[in-house]
């Protein structure tokens, strides 16, 4: 590795470590999503291949406890199967007291949220937890209530946002917990099928414009549902649309500027469709060099300051490349779940809902 590359790599490592220690104040307004920010930092160190050497056992077990303290448990005296609020919250912003064993809702708006449950499980798996404190029955029963008549999901009780993002989260959670009883798979598939637009990529909902982010959510969900390629109208056309998203880097819709995060959304979609070999990875790496910052991490576009989401997505985009093309020491990414191949191995071999007894 050249000096420049080694310096970039150590800057990236420092960037993510700093954010795991103390979040800069402009993340205050995103505190409801703090779990996701933690996932970006922890999964990034895993993909960089330095999670074990750059963080202490004490830090890692502290993170595990913090994640478990965000798990909303069933209310006492009621059947678990009737619970609707369970799952993980993004942070204790609504006033929940720290309790990593049996945290309850602290007010009617304090509930689990599908994106937070997905990223919480991802963090636990990455950190080598065996998921034995995850209340699978409660999560799965709450999830049933979140699926809408059209097959899509809202992220939490009472929400009116329902789209491909949360359908993907529900599939990722079901896969990680090895239990699909919280998802009506036929209805979910129907929603994904109806959201394939005339461009043969996917919108967030039926009739909406095809978009790199929702296309990732759709194709990852189809992968987890074992419905590829049969659920696609025409795989070649979907691949063609995805490849057309490359100028040097990737963008999410025709005529939008290249943006760091689509290196992951579009790249992972191509990988799941066995078409990543057609990507001009040299051009992609050159683009990502222009959004990689001297502070470590990546910005959205060249000259932008780095942020956690784009830093993580830039790194994830590079982690899709073959072993020989990735930077030394880094780990390969498993696209459908957004965790390293190493973490996927632990999910399948080390966690209680997967491990064969």
């Amino acid at each position: 590795m050249s000096d420049g590359k080694a310096r970039d790599r150590s800057n990236d490592i420092l960037y993510f470590k700093r954010h795991l220690e103390l979040l800069p104040d402009h993340y205050t307004s995103t505190d409801t999503n703090r779990m996701t920010l933690a996932y970006f930092g922890i999964s990034a160190l895993d993909l960089l291949g330095v999670l074990e050497e750059e963080t202490s056992g004490e830090e890692r077990s502290g993170w595990v406890e913090w994640v478990y303290a965000q798990q909303v448990h069933p209310n006492e005296g009621r059947e678990v199967a009737t619970q609707k609020q369970c799952g993980f919250r993004g942070a204790p912003y609504a006033g929940a007291v720290f309790d990593s064993t049996n945290s309850k809702v602290c007010n009617p708006y304090d509930t689990g949220h599908l994106a937070m449950t997905y990223t919480a499980l991802a963090i636990l798996i990455i950190l080598g937890d065996d998921l034995s404190r995850v209340n699978r029955e409660a999560i799965v029963s709450s999830m049933k209530d979140l699926q809408q008549a059209d097959g899509s999901f809202v992220p939490c009780p009472g929400s009116s946002e329902s789209d491909m993002r949360f359908l993907f989260c529900a599939c990722a959670i079901s896969y990680m917990l090895n239990d699909w009883s919280g998802v009506d798979r036929e209805r979910a598939l129907e929603f994904v099928r109806k959201s394939e637009s005339y461009e043969h990529a996917f919108g967030q909902q039926p009739d909406q414009e095809a978009h790199g982010g929702s296309t990732y959510c759709a194709i990852a969900a189809l992968t987890l549902l074992s419905a590829l390629p049969t659920a696609l109208q025409n795989q070649d056309k979907t691949v063609a649309w995805l490849l057309n998203r490359q100028r040097k880097g990737f963008h999410g819709r025709p005529d939008k500027p290249d943006d760091t995060c689509y290196a992951f959304w579009v790249g992972a979609s191509l990988k799941m469709l066995d078409a990543y070999q057609f990507v001009d990875t040299q051009a992609l790496r050159e683009f990502l060099e222009t959004t990689r910052t001297k502070y470590g991490g990546y910005g959205k576009v060249p000259e932008a300051y780095p942020d956690l989401l784009h830093s993580y997505m830039g790194l994830s985009g590079l982690a899709l490349q073959d072993d020989t093309k990735r930077e030394g020491g880094s780990r390969a990414l498993y696209g459908p779940l957004g965790i390293s191949e190493r973490a996927l191995g632990w999910l399948r071999e080390g966690t209680i809902y997967w491990r064969k007894v």
């Binding site: 409801t32 912003y93 609504a94 708006y109 304090d110 939490c156 009472g158 929400s159 009116s160 946002e161 637009s197 005339y198 461009e199 919108g203 967030q204 909902q205 009739d207 909406q208 414009e209 095809a210 978009h211 063609a240 649309w241 490849l243 057309n244 490359q246 100028r247 040097k248 819709r253 025709p254 005529d255 939008k256 070999q277 057609f278 990507v279 001009d280 051009a283």
Partner: protein, 238 residues
């Protein structure tokens, strides 16, 4: 924050607040946070309760003037148009947006939404009119991906193969005569020739090779893909 938005809905109802005033509040908030899901959903619920969409298209147009590809604005627009049956005025408005920015793929998507969902359906006359509209837009900006994608989509929707409209091939070939290289047009010609190879005209492979070479040279970021496409064509012949 989601829960604050839910709480606001609840107190608006409990205090029987004037919802028109709430719309003014949303106008201000939306200009500051145009990409917040919550604001758009909040607005939808208020409009449902008022059952009055009269100001909505002009509100959305104002938001699209700030960012003509705002995903939330377009999604909300589809809801307003289909819920309140505002189909008739939609095509002229989309035309205006396409004239303002011919590369606005969101507007092209909205055009497809209207053509495919409006209650009067989409007939033989409509597809002929659409093809001529699209080709006119392609001539104005041949390297603009949006009308090419829309062309494929609307033909598929109408159940028409593209050789039923020879003017499409004419437009694709017209660029060559002007010594213009247009990868989207070459891609169309490649597909046309590939279909002929598949139909048994093996000699068309040479034409495919020629087009494929041009694509490799002029669209180098997809060089490996164009090679793969040629391999697929050759496999038909065998």
């Amino acid at each position: 924050m989601r829960s604050a938005r839910q709480y606001r809905q609840e107190i608006l109802a409990a205090l029987q607040k004037d919802l028109k005033e709430e719309l003014d509040f949303i106008d201000d908030m939306a200009s500051e946070h145009p990409k917040s899901y919550q604001i758009w959903h909040h607005r939808q619920i208020i409009i449902e309760r008022l059952n009055d969409p009269s100001k909505e298209i002009s509100f959305i147009d104002k938001m699209l003037a700030l960012d003509s590809k705002n995903y939330h604005a377009w999604s909300y627009r589809q809801w307003v148009v289909s819920t309140y049956n505002l189909w008739d005025d939609e095509i002229p408005d989309i035309d205006r947006l396409i004239v303002e920015d011919i590369r606005n793929n969101s507007a092209w998507n909205q055009r497809f939404f209207v053509m495919s969902r409006r209650p009067q359906g989409f007939g033989e006359d409509d597809i002929v009119k659409e093809v001529s509209y699209i080709l006119q837009k392609i001539r104005l900006a041949p390297n603009n991906e949006s009308p090419w994608n829309y062309l494929r989509g609307i033909l598929e929707f109408a159940g028409k193969p593209f050789d039923e409209f020879p003017q499409i091939e004419d437009v694709c070939r017209s660029f060559e005569a002007k010594a213009m290289i247009v990868p989207h047009a070459l891609n169309f010609l490649l597909e046309l020739n590939a279909q002929q190879v598949q139909a048994g005209q093996g000699e068309r492979v040479a034409e495919c090779e020629k087009i494929s070479k041009q694509l490799e040279e002029h669209d180098p970021v997809r060089k490996l893909y164009w090679r793969h496409r040629l391999e697929q064509v050759k496999a038909f012949r065998n």
